[in-house]
Amino acid sequence: MLARLGIFVASLLAASLVIFVITQALPGDVAAAILGFGATPEQLAAKRAELGTDRPFLIQYADWIGGVLHGDFGRSWYSDIPVATLIAPRLEVTSSLVLLGLALALVIALPLGAVAALERRQWQGFTTSALAQFGMAIPAFWAGILLVFVFAVTLRWFPANGYSPLARGLGPWASHLVLPVVALGAVQGAVLIRYVRSAFLEVLGEDYYRTARSIGWTRWRALARHGVRNAALSLVTVLGLQLATVIVGAIVIERVFVLPGLGSLLLDMVGRHDLIVVRGVVLLLVFVVLLINAAVDISYALIDPRLRTSGRA
């Protein structure tokens, strides 16, 4: 447990260093980029001192990380607004989208993965696997565009874009999120089906599954009862690894549906080369991914009693 925590901290440091090197060392003179060509050497020097870019690299890095640890991500080069202030109101949008998308993906993948495994020699299983193969090939943002045309433009069931905060009521919030969540979750669900299928196939070959069948569970109920718990170990791992993909997918989907989330902020600031904001948002996203993966490792012990008693976690 302690070792896992150490690995998490080390990973986070490594990741933050990578982000910092890319956004601070590679671009060259940030002050020149901000002030443009007409800047005098005095102005440039003043700007460098203001940004702190005239100091040694490691000091700048330590400065940034030190600030981040206190919740201070710096100030936007473009608007001078604190990065944390820019990020805060967007957390709700992105986390709603990612969490609901993951939930939908699971709701799709668990039963269909079970069908694909249990009926793998029947047409149902074949159809499901084929469906997954097709689903994986569809870009989520294209699915989003098509959903907008059918359900927003033609049928007018849901708004085509925009967001309504939860605080303004559950109904509007939900109706704004339906299409983005479906676009993100359905495609991710198709990807997950194969993982669920192979995890379940493994269970079907296990002796304890046969034992469960021998005491009177039907195929489906034996799998639901003993399969899900045992497959959970590998599925949780896959979910952890897929999280990064889902978050990135959410960035693109936010653009499709003009949702004011972290993805939109990131893309706007990329367009303005406001690297301090870009750096902060990317660090936050990477932090979440690493944190969840550390949590996944630790959760093994909750799922598998064998790991609980042997003290490994």
Binding site: T211, S214, W217, T218, R229, N230
Partner: protein, 273 residues
């Protein structure tokens, strides 16, 4: 109570794993099925349980107390499994779900067929665990499989199979994976609980010596067919088929003169052909 007629089991395009097997088992009777791996004994057992993979083709007739089992749907068969008939498997290390306590797994069998009530199921589980020889059934019930020894797990599996007092219990090499000393305990427990339940038993083994301790009659299978049948006494002392004679010879090493080569089954088969 169990009547099998012309049972044939085939997988894909390969030659049938079980060919035209007929068997009868009276209430309370114990029949040993002997044969080496691949002789079709496990396939026979799984056919009776309805647990063969879907792509297996089963023909013939299996009647349990007059009910035809061949052709029953999975749902219908599930109603009987664990209740009217049950099975003790041979892999004590892997036959239990590692994520559930032993007690909960035995309780599942009870709650599926007898009584949904958790409290009454717990009582039945503790009684059953005591019946399979555990002095501390409460502790065993709350243990996870990895916390139990091979012999303990095998007794838990036995408890699962017998908690509903089924009429027929199929034991597939229940002691093969265990130490010799543990084997004896498990066999004694099995003997007791089968007696207490008044259950019939199909006891599958490659080991004639083990079968002779539990069963009154024996069939010998070779390449999917029954080649010899009779009381344990008959097969043991006057085997007819050369393969059976070979099995007896390898089982009765105590009859061997010191200094002679150990007999093999092949010696006898070759002599016959």
């Amino acid at each position: 109570m169990l009547a099998i007629r012309g049972l044939t089991v085939a997988f894909g395009r390969r030659p049938p794993a079980v060919r035209d097997v007929s068997l009868d088992l009276d209430a309370g009777q114990r029949l040993g099925i002997i044969g080496e791996s691949g002789s079709g004994k496990t396939a026979t057992a799984l056919a009776i349980m309805g647990l063969l993979p879907e792509y297996a083709r089963v023909t013939g007739s299996i009647r349990l107390d007059g009910t035809e089992l061949v052709g029953l749907s999975d749902r219908e068969m599930s109603g009987l499994r664990g209740d009217a008939l049950s099975m003790v498997f041979q892999e004590p290390m892997t036959a239990l779900d590692p994520t559930m306590t032993a007690g909960r797994q035995v309780a599942e069998a009870f709650r599926l067929h007898r009584d949904r009530d958790v409290g009454r199921a717990r009582t039945a589980v503790i009684d059953m665990l005591a019946a399979v020889g555990f002095d501390d059934p409460d502790r065993i019930a709350d243990s996870y499989p990895h916390q139990l020894s091979g012999g303990q797990r095998q007794r838990v599996v036995t408890a699962m199979a017998l908690v509903n007092r089924p009429g027929l219990v199929i034991c597939d090499e229940p002691t093969t994976a265990l130490d010799v000393t543990v084997q004896a305990t498990v066999l004694r427990v099995l003997d007791e609980v089968l007696d207490a339940a008044g259950a019939s038993c199909l006891f599958i083994s490659h080991d004639l010596a083990v079968v002779s301790q539990l069963c009154s009659s024996v069939v010998v299978m070779l390449d999917g067919e029954i080649v010899e049948r009779g009381t344990t006494e008959q097969v043991f002392h006057r085997p007819q088929h050369p393969y059976a004679a070979g099995l007896v010879a390898t089982a009765r090493l105590d009859l061997l003169e010191p200094g002679t080569r150990l007999p093999t089954v092949a010696d006898h088969l070759r002599g016959a052909s």
